[in-house]
């Protein structure tokens, strides 16, 4: 965005706030949805969490310190809302987040809006076998195209640790499937040079 600071001013101002918020939805709704969807798996859950995320964003805009970009800040809220959802889910069904993780494929297969073929299922199986943190990092880097620095900010971890976990995740997936789908003209091997 050309001038994010001006846009944030509009989001905070009482007169322009609502119009600016509509713009914010146009800009980030889809991105945040996919980020959330990969964390909570099913479309219904992602829909709930997305709604909660934007409500929280709207209420918290006045407190945004602008230490990170608006997108990173929103992404972090979406991440926290997803974790909160999974925690609530854990309390309801007496299962841990790790258990939720192991149920990943079951949830995916039960989801009406999953129409994966054999190859996609193979990739999903490999991703589901990553530990929870690695799966988040892999998704953020591979599918959401976030920078390591941004992932480190969102997960409140060191950038070096994020890189190590990502490379380990990529290697694990490579070993478990024949070919990792090529992204934006890069081979899997090239991702190590990012």
């Amino acid at each position: 965005m050309a001038n994010e600071s001006d846009f944030i001013d509009q989001l905070i101002s009482e007169t322009h706030r609502d119009n600016a918020f509509k713009k914010l939805l146009d800009l980030y709704q889809v991105r945040l949805y996919w980020h959330i969807r990969k964390l909570v798996i099913t479309h219904e859950n992602a829909d709930d969490v997305l709604q909660n995320t934007f409500i929280r964003v709207y209420k918290s805009l006045a407190n945004f310190s602008q230490q990170s970009s608006l997108y990173t800040w929103m992404y972090k809220i979406a991440y926290n809302e997803s974790i909160r959802f999974l925690e609530q889910n854990k309390n309801k069904h007496s299962i841990s987040i790790e258990d939720v993780n192991t149920k990943y494929l079951n949830c995916l297969l039960e989801d009406t809006f999953f129409e994966g073929d054999a190859m996609q299922l193979k990739l999903q199986t490999a991703v589901s076998e990553l530990n929870y943190k690695q799966r988040q990092i892999f998704n953020m880097k591979y599918y959401d195209d976030l920078k390591f620095r941004e992932i480190a900010t969102i997960l409140e971890m060191k950038e070096g640790t994020i890189k190590t976990l990502y490379y380990n995740a990529v290697k694990f997936i490579e070993n478990n499937i024949e070919i990792l789908p090529v992204k934006k003209g890069e081979s899997v091997q090239n991702t190590e040079n990012i």
């Binding site: 965005m1 050309a2 609502d18 918020f21 509509k22 713009k23 939805l25 146009d26 800009l27 709704q29 889809v30 991105r31 949805y33 996919w34 969807r37 990969k38 479309h43 829909d47 997305l50 709604q51 934007f54 409500i55 709207y58 209420k59 809006f113 999953f114 129409e115 994966g116 073929d117 996609q120 299922l121 990739l123 999903q124 599918y143 789908p181 992204k183």
Partner: protein
């Protein structure tokens, strides 16, 4: 911003495609449009005509306070007069009873009644009530005059 929107729209399409092609994840038709409207309905405040709450109207507060004060004073005065009359009656009855028991007639009931001041004090109470509506300046002036007279 316009260019940004176009780029962003492309990115959204790309994102939808990559999630559909690589992960087999899809969304219902028109989902993002409907979701946007639902979110906006929840967060964006609708303009409502400004109304002044009942409790902010000073005239209503003033009228209510005056009415309460008037009713309070009326009721208090009435019961105060009744209580005082009751005490006086009880006193005279007791004395009369003692008189009858002792056979003494030193103090007759009528005489005693004459000795008891009229404690309904209606006139005094009126003065007290009316003094509430006297300006402070007048009260000060009255006190000053009294002091000067005493001197």
């Amino acid at each position: 911003m316009e260019t940004n929107d176009k780029i962003n729209q492309m990115n959204d399409d790309e994102l939808n495609k990559i999630h559909s092609d690589s992960l087999g994840l899809n969304v219902p038709e028109n989902y993002f449009f409907e979701s946007k409207n639902r979110i906006l309905n929840k967060v964006v405040t609708k303009e409502e005509p400004k109304t002044i709450p009942f409790y902010r109207k000073k005239t209503i507060w003033f009228a209510a306070a005056t009415l309460t004060l008037f009713l309070g004073l009326t009721v208090c005065n009435k019961y105060a007069a009744l209580d005082e009359q009751k005490i006086a009656d009880q006193l005279t009855d007791s004395i009369a009873q003692i008189d009858n028991e002792n056979g003494a007639t030193a103090v007759s009931k009528n005489n005693f009644n004459n000795q008891i001041p009229n404690i309904s004090l209606t006139a005094e109470n009126d003065i007290l009530v009316s003094s509430l509506f006297v300006e402070e300046k007048e009260v000060d002036q009255y006190i000053t005059n009294c002091i000067l007279e005493d001197m």
